[in-house]
Amino acid sequence: MRKINKSNINSHIPVDFMYNLPVIEFTGNRQVLVEGSTGVLQYESEIVRINTKAMVVAFYGRDLTLKCISSTGVIISGYITKTEFTT
């Protein structure tokens, strides 16, 4: 059986699709959109931890609130001071 050359595939397929990575979009440090979330793991005013397929993303800050939640995305607003990725 012929082996698939991964490097060729990598050049054509988007990285987020290939590795199930979340798409994170920041608006300054006031708002962040996480696309590809599978659930909320921790929700406090200082820390919000979001589960995705590939990793857990944690946002640290002040007055953090979940502005909007759907089955695949989350919008967090507040003053974000730190972001942490746990794979």
Partner: protein
């Protein structure tokens, strides 16, 4: 705003979530597609809002996620009805308001006229009233086509009109007839002569031979445009001279007021107010009437809320009685003279341009006199027919 209103109509609950896994509670709500809002962390837990129907169906989710729900506040129409079940007056009042609104909605509250320039709104309103449209007209009986046709017949200057009854407002759009330009039918030869002394500022000659130019000083009866014209073949011809010759003219007018005469006083009057509701008018005061001739001035006020006119209003009638007369003071005499001057300018010089004006007031022999010196820019061309003598 609309979302808030819908939420209030449906009723919603503000609740707190306390327990071990509030995050799981959120995830389960998302999975079930249950809508919630304003979900924020607070002291010892979280706080959020949810519709009444959904709140009654999330007990199982709360149990699964080991959280305890506490209702903090219930907001909305269902709760208001529940709390005020015994107060039947509120509901009867609400129904009455709705019925009154539905009833009043069947009538015209306001008539708005748009597009009038030469025709006065009062004239149009009067014609509309005679045709069957006025404040308080029942919308069901309103035949718009007939009213439009009748009004056009009553006011000949209206070229086209349309009446749109939107809610309680009758919007009347009018296009006036355009006036046809004056064409002189007479073709008999005539000259243009100066009607008074002046200095020419502009000449516009349509027909004839212009003999003056800008800056020329002319005297009364001087020939301005001659009717004798020479064509290319050097033949002489007589034409009907037409044109406009503008000139700066000095004019002096004298106005007098006799201070001995008696005048109607402004300060002695009686007032009566009436409450207007649609086409009905209810007197609010019953003051005794003063005998004698009187001059009545009406002022109408309309109530409006946020720019929306209501069918309620007030009419103030001020009666000035002619038997309460007084001799004029010097100051009042001057005021009357000023008014006279303004009126004269409005009517006599409406088409002319007043370049400068000087007023001299004098008082002598119980008379107040004003001498006004004007410099007016006006058309001084005056037609004069040619006469043939044998």
């Amino acid at each position: 705003m609309l979302i808030k209103l819908i939420r209030w109509l449906r009723g919603y609950v503000v609740f707190t979530v306390k327990g071990r896994f509030p995050e799981r509670f959120i995830n389960l709500l998302n999975q079930r597609g249950i809508l919630y809002w304003s979900f924020v962390p607070c002291k010892d837990g979280h706080k959020g809002s949810m519709s009444l129907y959904d709140y009654l169906h999330i007990r199982k989710i709360a149990r699964h996620s080991h959280v305890r729900l506490r209702k903090q506040k219930a907001v909305g129409l269902p709760f208001f009805i529940k709390n005020n079940k015994k107060r039947k007056g509120i509901f009867i009042g609400g129904v009455c308001v709705l019925l009154i609104m539905a009833f009043l909605n069947q009538f015209i509250w306001v008539i708005e006229i748009d597009g009038t320039k030469r025709i006065s709104d009062v004239q149009v309103l009067q014609a509309l009233q005679e045709s069957g449209l006025e404040i308080g007209t029942y919308k069901g009986n309103m035949d718009v086509d007939t009213i439009e046709k009748d009004t056009i017949l009553r006011v000949p200057d209206i070229g086209w009109m349309s009446i749109n009854a939107i809610n309680n407002i009758a919007k009347v759009e009018i296009k006036e007839k355009s006036k046809s330009p004056k064409i002189s039918k007479s073709q008999s030869p005539c000259n243009l002569k100066a009607s008074c002394d002046g200095v020419i500022t502009k000449t516009t000659v349509v027909n004839g031979n212009c003999l003056v130019k800008r800056g020329t000083a002319v005297v009364k009866n001087q020939l301005l445009v001659s009717s004798v014209v020479e064509d290319n073949n050097q033949n002489l011809a007589y034409v009907h001279s037409q044109g406009e010759i503008l000139a700066d003219v000095n004019e002096e007018k004298t106005f007098t007021v006799n201070l001995d005469n008696s005048y109607v006083l402004d300060k002695d009057y009686t007032e009566k107010s009436r409450l207007d509701f649609l086409r009905f008018s209810i007197p609010l005061e019953f003051s005794s009437s003063n005998n004698g001739e009187k001059l009545s001035v009406f002022k109408r006020y309309r109530m409006s809320v946020n720019g929306v006119a209501l069918p309620l209003g007030k009419t103030l009638c001020r009666n000035y009685y002619c038997n309460n007369t007084e001799k004029l003071s010097e100051e009042n005499g001057i005021n009357i003279l000023k008014k006279k001057i303004k009126l004269q300018e409005c009517f006599e010089h409406s088409k002319d341009k007043i370049k400068s004006k000087k007023i001299n007031f004098t008082q002598n022999n119980k008379k107040s006199t004003a001498v006004v010196s004007y410099v007016i820019n006006k058309n001084i061309a005056q037609k004069q027919k040619l006469s043939v003598r044998s």
